[in-house]
Amino acid sequence: MNPVLRKRSSLWQQLLARPPGVLALGLLGFLYLCALFAPFLAPYGPGDQDLQRTYHPPTGLTWTQEGLAVRLYENADPTQALYRPIPGKTAAIQWFPGGHSYRLFGLLPCRRHLFGVEPPHKVYLLGSDSTGRDVFSRLLYGAQVSLSIGLIGISISLGVGLIAGGLAGYFGGWFDSLVMRTTELLMAIPGLYLLLALRGAFASQFGSGEVYLLIVVILSFLGWSGAARVIRGLALSLRAQTFVEAAIVTGLSPWRILWRHLLPNLASYLLVAAALSIPGYILGEAALSFLGIGIQEPSASWGLMLAQAQEMKVFMCNFWWLLTPGAAVFVTVAAFNLLGDTLRDVIDPHFRTGSR
């Protein structure tokens, strides 16, 4: 049978032709935009406390002559964090008010925020936590940590896995044995213990930036072995393909063959693997922070915020808004998995060789 001759449409076009792909990309795009513009979108800083307003419920929104406004609350019983809206009293929402200063993208100095209310009133879209910090703002700042850790982690672990696995598969010999034995060693150690041990081996007096880096390195160190083994297998089978032999006969150097002929054929696998592995890093960070050995206060991350939500009080008093980081983790992980599955569906037919 003749293969149906058709131009291969680009990965993007095929991805966008599928509803799950559009949904996943849309969600992730939204989440990453939120993280990128977190300081602008958040009305308050991640560490801004207000001990007068602990466990404040989400403020209600109403419409007044002056436009959109928030209700004002009075603290009925400070021992129980019981807040009651004061009837008829509101504070108008200001658009683009000046607030605490920050640097957008870490570069542009800026003082404007998207919205806010006239101090001393406060707007808590998703309530406040035990020290009166705005959960909505912390959720946005936490997204910066939680969402970037996956991207950076996967770049490191897939990078290491690609180099180690690719070279092992292509050259074989002692290097292959070395890499494979190392990965087996890593995989034989239970992941959680290794994680705790590595975390414990370093001083706990690190600043939050250093802890962030440390977590990325630890997670990547654990993650590269699986990728390396799969990539080695792929490289091994690609090496046996005739087009690699043809490249050798042409006189290409091994590095050029790896770069030109192996890497493009691995690219689709790497893409799928990346999409499906990123949730592991997000969950890994959340787990570490939840256990108290990840991101440290007063920085925000989703895992850390959930750790605070585990207090008995939160469940007893039904402070549901403190669980929103869990929902954010869920949505992100689900979106990445959806993207990975859709990518695999799109790419898989290309792996099939021409059938006659």
């Binding site: 049978m1 003749n2 149906v4 058709r6 006659r356």
Partner: protein, 288 residues
Amino acid sequence: MSDPNAAPLLQVSDLAIEFASPERTIRAVDGVSFSMANGSTLAVVGESGSGKSVTALSLARLLPSPPARVRSGKILFDGTDLLTLPETALRHYRGGKIAYVFQEPSTSLNPVFSVAFQLSEAMALHRHDLTDRRAAGLAALSEVGIRDPERCWKSYPHELSGGMQQRVMIAMALVCRPQLLVADEPTTALDVTIQAQILNLLRDIRSRFGMAILLITHNFGLVKGFADHVVVMFRGKIVEQGPTDSLLAAPRHPYTQALIACVPRLGESKKRLTTIDYDKLDALLSPS
């Protein structure tokens, strides 16, 4: 040979098959009609894309649908229209009355099961009368010229050479005692020497068991001395058909002539081979 007045074993009439994709629809088989008598051999010759394999697969409705779709036509096997038969009744024909041998023996056999398992499975499906499957299987293996059937019975496909694998495929077809054996390019993946052996085997089986054989091939060289009748297909249509000897001696259609001429012959060293002039054929075929 067979009685010309008897009802044919297989009668394909005005068969048209399309492959639909979102972009376009391709007509792979277009108005194909031919018939085969009991115990006869027919060769369908054509190039890749001529629709010969599609025709062969459609006989037992083996084409995946979608994308394949039968637009029109009838396939009468022993008086039954296979195209309208319900799926459950069709299973009786598939592998039972109509057996297939495919091009790639290495992919037609399941690599994780032994020859014994795969042969027994075929018998379990289609030969309920057999009590001793092992004996029947060993007999089938020796019928296809395997010298050590005991050893072959126990082995796995990867332990056998391509020629041996193809013999096992033929044995699998044989144990079901089919009335029609469809051999779809059975020798294309094999060496010329093995090809000759497999063709001899098929010829031998036909005379011993009296089954009809439908040979699908791109090589006119295999037709002579094997098939009683030839059907030549080009772009989904039959361009010529007739008894092998007369067709080979005096091919009428230019496509048939070219297809015969392009086969390399021994003793014609360094001579240019004849190739098919598709432009000329297009010009010839377009007015009709």
